[in-house]
């Protein structure tokens, strides 16, 4: 038997401890929890491994993260949306979450192994990465932003990630197995306990993590972007003005520069040269625009299955980032 019998899950102390650790209700069956821990590399039979559950879980995680980001930050540039998706539910983030839940891996998968351990076929030392995990041919050779939004996965990645079903009996690194477990757990929670509980679980375990979106912007030409933005929105052209300075002729000068559009200050920055301070001020002004957050946001999934839709408020849709 390549994986433990589902009956053995009922005797596993590790599984019931894991269920209690994640505050899951007693009606979530341990047999399903055991199944989410079996990667297709350990058991190629799709009736006993977590491949199908992890496909469902990946879609749910992508959907809930995307609606959270797009409704709360309607002006966020697509590049940052993709990076934030990756930061919340990307492969690396999911593997870290699994280790923080106390998931331990079995040395070797098998029918006699404790069902509370993560089961996957390990890479042998000296062997290269299997072909299924290597970079695939890109979705498309001339990749446009529109194509990344419409046709690729939730992270806008250039290559298709390996399908869980294609990894049957293929040795994989632990990160791949751990992320498949987290996805499969979300998928199985959706099937057994329903969407409201999954949303609560997602909010408490994934959205509660700390991510500072303002640190994810990497501007190349913030001054040019800002003047294009002002032209697009019909504001007066931005002007940089020196607010304060000290030590202009010393080794450590400090300049504080504000960017103004008419009488409105859009942003402010400090730097050791006038140019640096101006760039920082322009970047601050752009971040203030892009990180706009409406009050009282209702996400689309909050009206799922609800008969009373009066609480729903349409979300703001922005025309998008500046195109230079």
């Amino acid at each position: 038997m390549p994986s433990p019998h589902p009956y053995e899950a009922l005797q596993s102390t590790k599984l019931s401890a894991l269920r209690a650790r994640l505050s899951l209700p007693q009606r979530f069956p341990l047999q399903t929890l055991a199944r989410t821990l079996i990667h297709p590399s350990a058991d190629p039979d799709p009736a006993f491994n977590n491949a199908s559950l992890s496909v469902l879980g990946a879609n749910l995680l992508g959907y809930y993260t995307a609606e959270h980001l797009l409704c709360n930050y309607p002006r966020l540039p697509m590049e940052v949306v993709f990076a934030a998706q990756n930061a919340y539910v990307g492969p690396r983030a999911l593997a870290i979450i699994a280790s923080e839940w106390g998931i331990e891996a079995a040395a070797e998968p098998g029918g006699e192994v404790e069902p509370g351990l993560l089961q996957f076929k390990r890479l042998r030392p000296g062997e290269g990465i299997p072909a299924a995990l290597k970079k695939q041919v890109p979705w498309k050779w001339n990749v446009t932003q529109t194509h990344r939004i419409v046709a690729t996965d939730e992270f806008g990645s250039p290559n298709a990630p390996p399908s869980p079903h294609s990894l049957a009996s293929v040795p994989v690194p632990m990160e791949e197995a751990a992320q498949s477990f987290v996805r499969a757990l979300v998928g199985s929670l959706h099937l057994h306990l329903g969407a409201p509980l999954v949303k609560r679980f997602f909010k408490s375990h994934f959205l509660s993590r700390h991510l500072d979106l303002s640190e994810m912007f990497d501007f190349r030409t913030p001054t040019r972007d800002l003047s294009r933005l002002c032209a697009r929105e019909g504001f007066e052209a931005p002007v940089a003005r020196l607010i304060s300075e000290t030590g202009r002729l010393s080794r450590h000068p400090v300049f504080v520069v504000g960017i103004y559009s008419g009488k409105d200050k859009l942003g402010e920055g400090a730097g050791s040269s006038l140019e640096e301070a101006r760039f920082r001020a322009a970047a601050a002004a752009l971040k203030a625009w892009y990180l706009y957050k409406p009050l009282d946001v209702t996400v689309p999934s909050s009206t799922e299955g609800e008969l009373d839709t009066t609480k729903w408020k349409p979300n703001m849709v922005d025309c998008g980032e500046v195109i230079v």
């Binding site: 401890a17 650790r21 994640l22 990076a83 509660s208 993590r209 700390h210 304060s244 504080v256």
Partner: protein, 138 residues
């Protein structure tokens, strides 16, 4: 490309949303012959069941090691472990040690240096700046 994104991973803040107890497994070692395990054997027989029922998120393992003092080892989520030798202790003292291990953080005990508090959250009042506000003419 006017703007690119910096790749990051969201960091955990245990307790902000869900709280996951850092202690994941506790092993209790006893000897059925030596006198130093007398209290441990009594604890295992009478009180461990209640403690385990109250802490379902912890996995308990009990094992016998002959001719050795009884000990408790706690394993934590980050891979660290802490052990306590409980020889000649009364069941009540063992319960206290178990609670200590359950409630403690996986990090080593260390002095808290007198450093200013650092936070990842934004300052509510802002930071005082010498460049803003009333200018002092010298």
């Amino acid at each position: 490309m006017p703007l690119s994104a910096i790749q990051k991973v969201a960091t955990a803040q245990n307790g902000v949303g869900a709280f996951v107890l850092p202690c994941k497994r506790i092993t209790l070692r006893y000897c059925d012959w030596a006198g130093s395990s007398k209290g441990m054997n009594a604890y295992l027989k009478t009180q461990l069941g209640v403690f385990a029922k109250r802490n379902p998120q912890i996995e308990f393992q009990v094992y016998k090691k002959a001719n050795d003092h009884p000990a408790i080892t706690a394993y934590y989520l980050n891979g660290h472990q802490k052990s306590v030798n409980v020889k000649n202790m009364a069941p009540e003292e063992i319960r206290e040690k178990l609670e200590l291990l359950r409630n403690s953080s996986p990090e080593k005990n260390k002095r808290v240096p007198a450093k200013p508090v650092t936070s990842i959250n934004e300052n509510v009042r802002g930071i005082w700046s010498p460049f803003h506000g009333a200018k002092i003419k010298i």
